[in-house]
Symmetry: C3
Subunit: 247 residues, 3 copies
């Protein structure tokens, strides 16, 4: 990361660089996509977002530069931008080709340093976008794990666990509201269950579990002053199910 910032500040000494996160699980494109989606909109208009989780580095995966109404995005075309670009529609997508903007020699294992960082710097400097490559029409979409909807249940899974041990599911707020309406329900993880949606962590007694709509706008399961990951012995991919109550 230091090297990437060094590269940026050689090209654009006045650059303001803000780190979103460098602790994405290695190669976990979905985790990076979620973090970007929940963060990008808080940045000043005109920000260039550099998002590199890149298991395919050096292979033929494309490299893209995307302009939206408020931002620019520079990334490998592997889906890392796709959750964000659902909300913030792309106005122009460029496949990055022009080697003039790359650090030479280009290594085959560290494109963040040799390609993405210098391209992002030149974009930030105001270089016309068309100079970086050719206009393309589409970008790779990420397959989100699907939520199964039945008449009496919603079944999703844990897609991210944060450093507090909060379990983030793929069940989004709108889905959930529509399913629950004013009926009784229970949320099941493993053999444990939670019967309401809290507004704050502190609504549960200390060391007790609760569910809430987290800052990703997905259903989260947490433990007040504790770790839901440890409490439920949970891991990514585990089921979270919401069932309507019969009574």
């Amino acid at each position: 990361v230091g090297v990437i910032k060094a590269v940026i500040s050689r090209i654009l000494p006045e650059a303001k660089i803000i780190d979103i996160c460098h602790e994405v699980k290695p190669q976990d494109i979905l985790e990076a996509a979620l973090l970007l989606k929940s963060s990008y909109r808080y940045f000043p208009s005109g920000t260039v977002h550099l998002a590199v989780v890149d298991p395919g580095v050096g292979s033929k995966r494309r490299k893209i530069l995307v302009k939206t109404r408020n931002y620019f995005f520079v990334a490998p075309d592997n889906g890392v931008l796709s959750l964000t670009l659902k909300e913030e529609r792309p106005l122009k997508i460029i496949e990055i080709i022009n080697e003039k903007y790359f650090l030479r020699p280009v290594s085959s294992s560290f494109h963040a340093r040799d390609i993405f960082a210098p391209v992002a710097s030149f974009v930030s400097k105001g270089e016309p976008l068309n100079k970086f490559g050719r206009v393309i029409k589409s970008f790779k979409e990420l397959q989100m794990p699907k939520v199964e909807m039945r008449s009496d249940s919603l079944s999703g899974e844990i897609i991210y666990i944060d450093r507090f041990g909060n379990l983030v599911s793929n069940i989004d707020g709108d889905n959930l509201k529509h399913f629950i309406k004013n009926r009784k329900f229970e949320i099941l993880i493993g053999k444990k269950c939670i019967d309401r949606i809290s507004r704050t962590y502190a609504e549960a007694a200390p060391l007790n579990a609760l569910a809430l709509m987290g800052s990703f706008n997905y259903l989260e399961v947490a433990v007040n002053c504790g770790s839901a990951k440890d409490y439920f012995a949970a891991k990514k991919g585990d089921r979270i199910m919401i069932k309507r109550m019969e009574c």
Copy 2:
């Protein structure tokens, strides 16, 4: 953290942001209070310190803004400032109420982003303090684990373990000096003992234990080129006792 900096730089693009630490054990107010106390005074005068460890987020705990002779502090009123404010007396304490300075809508789980970061930014921008809320007289004090003092012993505990595995106790320098004077003593952890206070890590042979007054100004136990945490199989809350020797 990235989001918080993004929020700050939208309100105050020229802000200089310095991270003290983002690795405080989740919900550990005491650890955060210690780190702040040992760091704040190195910052330039006029710095706005933003300190958010906030297990009560969204509940009724107050949010405060404190002015001292040299600094401003913005934090939940849960004790995180209290060790610092013992040294750096508060000149004015404001309960933060005015929603005009908040990001809307205010989430119930991420006040660092929605309340504390924007308030800190506007304070840094020079907004008069009274505009943020109402003047109050007190702030929540943190209960530090007490040191037991007897005629022939001092008994404290481990309150923080740093990334090097150094064990920081709650026995402060003045206490210790007064107790020891020129007499012989031994420091006991578990069944092991150390018989003097070193000035540097290197005074012990490699992989040997030593005690010294650390940068928190509390008695620390360390292992030269090693980890005292591993060496003593120590954890937070473990006893550290100093006994006078009879001979």
Copy 3:
């Protein structure tokens, strides 16, 4: 780290600070030396590099300031600069002595804050180098684990494992090329073997092992979309051997 930046920005408010890494294994001078060597050249000319991994803090190890053609380096004289200074020859080496530039009182356990950070700030501010101490002729060299070369084999070891679990050896690119030429070979780690050098991670099938010349310019063993550390149950110091094939 926050405190160090605070100290710097009190002395030089306009300083641009870029973190290379703060996750070096405690006391691991070799790891820090490798990271510095692979990073320094990407920084703008004139950068002051502050490199503190300092198991001998407070003891009699010297503190040095080095000027090269493009950079300045400030560090304890324990070898942390030595891999870098093999590539970037020192033009002047100063032993740091002048206490005028130190933070007072100087603690015996945190010279990064009290000595190295303020010295680096004053160097960056343009203070003449001779003012910091006296010119010396040499600096401490780090002993790199040696590569054993035989007529039919090269035997090195793992010297660094990165956060992706990639295993970095001490077998450098030139050595390797010279040994391999166009002959067949195999790379042995534990009981497993790899029979070619890949250009990218993606050349191996997912979860398969591969070898490549990494960004340190040393032979690395990796697992595509996985962790070589886990795959090989490898740890620092483990052997990596390259054997010529007889056939």
